[in-house]
């Protein structure tokens, strides 16, 4: 069921340069868990599009399958959207983009969607430098199927069933960089101050722009919290069915300074160490980016900010040299060589 948001929530909002209020960028009421990081990212997307004065119908939004992939229902309700199949958002977006170069393409995905089943398509859409913004709402687990580890789960982390993840985690941002992505960023769902500008930059980037957004799953990252006050309830849950009771949680938000590590305590009591890049650093030096990311990884920091940018990138349309007109606007006259040409072809076949 999709619930329509009561419209009285925004009585008289300011309009942006193209005449839309912020409400015009919102979507249906979210059905995600209370406090889910993904909802914060949706809100940042709404804000970014509003601030960029993008007409909502000029955006086409895409996703795979997962809690994260449901979010396109919850933002940009005036945009067309396509909830594809699990892990295959990149291919559908590629086709859509080639059909009409004039729209803005926004894909959202989960870490399960992109780092497991969709890893091949993720790598290949990067290789093609499709002009799109690709946001992974990265919670290190499979939210919608109830909390299994994903391929981005940290080695050593404990999942919902109490099992330690014993596999190397895949760093999608580092992978994107290795594969030649022209825009690579990382942020945290609760840090709108950082996230909104990054989304704006990504939407404006004329090639493939990747943002890895750490987005805690309040429900299934919520397992180790023996120090927490709702201990009693947790015990209760453990004794019955682990998936049956989902306590409402507050969203985790964060503001911190560049170049100083910030500790974030998740709902389960585990700690993430964020380390924000100074906005003044030069993100266009690929080697430097690789080095910094490797270093942060070794130190157990999560480096956030715009990690790498190749400003003069050339997207897939340029590579393929497609005509300036969107392909989906071409008509019989542009497309069909006609009967005379066919007669000639026939003649060549005799």
């Amino acid at each position: 069921m999709t619930f329509v948001k009561p419209t009285f929530r925004h009585p008289a909002l300011t309009k942006n340069a193209v005449g839309f209020t912020k409400a015009d960028y919102e979507g249906a009421l979210s059905t995600l868990c209370a406090g889910c990081g993904h909802d914060s990212i949706s809100a940042s997307i709404v804000q970014a599009c509003y601030e960029l004065d993008i007409e909502p119908h000029r955006v086409a939004k895409f996703s795979g399958i997962g809690c994260s992939s449901k979010t396109p229902t919850y933002f940009l309700g005036n945009s067309h959207g396509f909830n594809t199949v699990h892990g295959r958002m990149p291919s559908v977006t590629t086709g859509a983009n080639l059909a009409n170069k004039d729209l803005i393409y926004l894909g959202v995905s989960g870490d399960g969607d992109s780092a497991s089943i969709g890893l091949g398509q993720f790598c290949h859409v990067i290789r093609r430098n499709l002009n799109m913004t690709y946001i992974v709402m990265n919670n290190g687990c499979y939210g919608l199927t109830k909390g299994q580890d994903s391929a981005t789960a940290d080695r050593g982390s404990i999942n919902k069933s109490g099992v330690e993840n014993r596999f190397q985690s895949i760093d999608l941002a580092a992978l994107a960089l290795e594969l030649g992505a022209s825009f690579v960023a990382r942020s945290f769902s609760g840090d709108k101050g950082q996230l909104i500008p990054l989304i704006k930059a990504a939407l404006l980037h004329p090639g493939f722009a990747f943002i890895d957004v750490i987005s805690p799953c309040v429900t299934f990252n919520n397992n180790d919290g023996s120090t927490k006050s709702y201990d009693f309830v947790r015990d209760h849950i453990d004794a019955t069915s682990p998936l049956d009771f989902v306590p409402e949680e507050d969203e985790i938000t964060l503001e911190y300074d560049p170049e100083k590590p910030a500790e974030v305590k998740l709902h389960d009591g585990s700690i993430l160490n964020f380390y924000k890049l100074n906005p003044l650093w030069d993100p266009t030096d690929r080697n430097l980016s690789v080095e910094r990311m490797n270093k942060a990884r070794q130190e157990g920091h999560i480096l956030t900010g715009l990690l790498y940018l190749e400003p003069s990138t050339s997207d897939l349309h340029k590579t393929l040299q497609t005509t300036a007109k969107p392909l989906n606007t071409l008509k019989e006259d542009d497309l069909c060589p006609g009967s005379q040409a066919l007669d000639k072809i026939n003649q060549g076949l005799r």
């Binding site: 086709g95 729209l103 349309h317 497609t322 005509t323 071409l330 497309l335 060589p337 006609g338």
Partner: protein, 604 residues
């Protein structure tokens, strides 16, 4: 042995090694027969590797216009000693075995009932060309020269073809002519010629062309307005896209070098069909082509496109299955897997071309149907049709023809519409109106998904809304049956017995039916052109007591689908199948029909 002279009626088979340049030489021979106005077909049986393995090329020449296969070889051009023994066994008694006599034949290879024609091909080449690569290459032309002389092919016709072939590289013409003469002269000096099987100019072809189905399908895509193709290489479908690319370069490149098309070689078939769905959803005409495993990999996405109602065109050039199977052999064995592709209750629209002209027409038509019906349409061709040269009616295009873009609301229509519901059945035909992204700032946007939803594209898990939607899809399926090409019914009204076939089976089947008719066994014939079947197919089966269904797969898949969709008593449907990977032969059909039909039925 002395037999009466047989004119324009023979099977010639070339036994070569692949990668030696034989295929184009053999094409040269076929083309010459074609230019002499004689009906023929040619088939290439090649291995699944690149170089060094046995390969065969079979030309059927038939004054009567039978262009399917028939068993038995009248003349075998044997250039591959590896397969001599096997090849000799295929020659009919009284037939000819033309071989490279540079080396002697092993005595065990001598059959008393056939004629041997030794041409020292390699020797002639070594004496006349210095470079080993050239020696190898011109060996092929030498045997063409010999063969042409033996069969009375007009040498000037061959020379013309060579001239055209090398029009842009004239220096290559004389050495080719020389090779031709080497073969021809050797025959003239050493044998009596022409043979008792021989060719004679006719004017039996009208404006027909000689073409492979894959190129024709690619032209269908070009004329049908495809602007986006995504694909992943796989034999035997690869040449659909490479031909499409070639034609696009020629006909769709703008003066400034930009292109009115985009082609993406995807990372696999899942991505290829995903891209096609994305482009079609966004209002471009898009298609892909695949074979074998590619179809299996597209299964999930085909279910999405069926259920979310997104157009998509897939040219499936069927090959020998299951699994990797026989990748360079032909079959019609993806009927069930395509008709019901994907988990859950799904049905997919299929078209079945029989000729290159239909590959062209049906691919163009598939684009109309996919957009009209908002659903995938699969053009079910096969390796035989796709990769071999066939006689075909000329390709035709009506310059007044408009693409049917289906029910798409534009900005103004949205402006005027009272309400918009993506899955509202406004017209009662099961087909709803869609909109394209970017059309209108505030109206007509919707969310496409593979999950259940209501008429306004809103997610719902309510059983009733789901059932309404599934029933509407059934209604759309009925509409589809009226829109797809109707079957072709021939030889009507003569018999209580019917025959149903489709695709490339047509050619051998027609011949077999003539053979049976000569014996007094008459059949009415229906050629299926599309799935869903529509009323004509049903009526045909109802109107006949027994119906033979001929197809090229083991499990009688078309017969299954006929039973299922039309509620036919299986007792009525007699199955004739051939699935050894070779195009079905007329004799096979003839034999099987005689064997299968109960004596009573046969008398009827």
């Amino acid at each position: 042995m002395s037999k009466p002279v047989r004119v324009n009626d023979m099977v010639i088979r070339f036994a070569n090694v692949n990668g030696t340049g034989s295929a184009s030489a053999n094409d040269l021979f076929s083309k010459a027969v074609f230019r002499m106005g004689i009906p023929l077909s040619s088939k290439n049986f090649f291995p699944s590797n690149i170089q060094g393995l046995p390969t065969w090329y079979e030309v059927r020449v038939s004054e009567k216009g039978y262009t399917g296969r028939r068993n038995g070889v009248d003349l075998l051009v044997a250039v591959n000693p590896q397969t001599y023994a096997k090849d000799i066994a295929t020659v009919v008694p009284g037939g000819y075995f033309l071989y490279d006599s540079t080396k002697n034949l092993h005595p065990e290879l001598i059959r008393k009932d056939i004629n041997y024609i030794g041409i020292p091909m390699m020797k002639l080449c070594m004496e006349n060309y210095d470079i080993p690569r050239q020696q190898q290459l011109f060996k092929n032309i030498v045997y063409i020269g010999a063969l042409a002389t033996l069969l009375d092919v007009e040498m000037e016709v061959i020379r013309d073809i060579i001239r055209q072939m090398f029009a842009k590289k004239e220096k290559l013409i004389p050495p080719n002519f020389k090779a031709l003469d080497l073969g021809a002269n050797y025959v003239k000096e050493n044998f009596s010629w022409p043979l008792e099987i021989r060719l004679e100019r006719r004017d039996a072809l009208g404006d027909q062309i000689f073409m492979d189905g894959n190129s024709a399908a690619s032209l269908g895509a070009l004329y049908g307005g495809v602007t986006f193709a995504a694909w992943y290489p796989i034999t035997p479908s690869t040449s659909v896209i490479s031909a499409f690319e070639k034609y696009c370069k020629k006909y769709r490149t703008n003066p400034d070098g930009t292109t009115n098309y985009a082609i993406v070689q995807a990372e696999d078939e899942l991505a290829a069909i995903g891209m096609v769905i994305g482009a079609s959803w966004n209002g471009a005409r898009a298609f892909t082509s695949t074979s074998g495993a590619g179809i299996s990999l597209m299964t999930e996405f085909l279910g999405l496109a069926y259920f979310a109602e997104v157009p998509a065109v897939i040219v499936n050039v069927q090959r020998g299955g299951p699994s990797t199977g026989m990748p360079t052999r032909t079959q019609q064995s993806d009927i069930i897997s395509c008709a019901y592709a994907s988990h859950g209750d799904t049905k997919q629209v299929l078209l079945f071309p029989s000729t290159p002209a239909e590959c062209f027409e049906m691919t163009a038509q598939a684009l109309d149907l996919a957009e009209r019906l908002q659903t995938p349409v699969l053009v079910m061709t096969d390796l035989d049709l796709g990769m071999n040269l066939h006689l075909s009616p000329a390709l035709k295009w009506d310059d007044n023809r408009k693409y049917d873009r289906g029910k798409v609301l534009n900005r103004q229509q949205l402006e005027e519409a009272k309400q918009f519901g993506r899955y509202l059945d406004v017209d009662g035909d099961g087909i709803c109106y869609r909109t394209l992204p970017g059309t209108h700032p505030t109206k007509g946007s919707f969310f496409t998904r593979g999950t259940s939803r209501d008429e306004f594209a809103r997610y719902t898990e309510e059983g009733e809304a789901y059932v309404r939607n599934m029933q509407r899809l059934q209604k759309k399926w009925k509409t589809a049956a009226d829109l797809v090409p109707a079957p072709e019914v021939t030889r009507t009204g003569t018999s209580k017995l019917g025959v149903i076939y489709f695709g490339t089976t047509k050619f051998s089947a027609d011949e077999a039916l003539d053979m049976l008719a000569e014996e007094g066994m008459k059949f009415d014939v229906l050629r299926i052109k599309a799935f869903p079947f529509g009323g004509d197919v049903h009526k045909f089966i109802k109107d006949h007591e027994q119906v033979v269904v001929i197809e090229q797969n083991r499990d009688a898949q078309m017969r299954t689908v006929l039973m299922t969709e039309l509620e036919i008593d299986p007792a009525k449907l007699i199955s004739v199948v051939n699935y050894d990977g070779m195009p079905i032969a007329a004799d096979t059909i003839y034999d099987q029909i005689k064997k299968r039909l109960s004596p009573i039925a046969v008398k009827a």
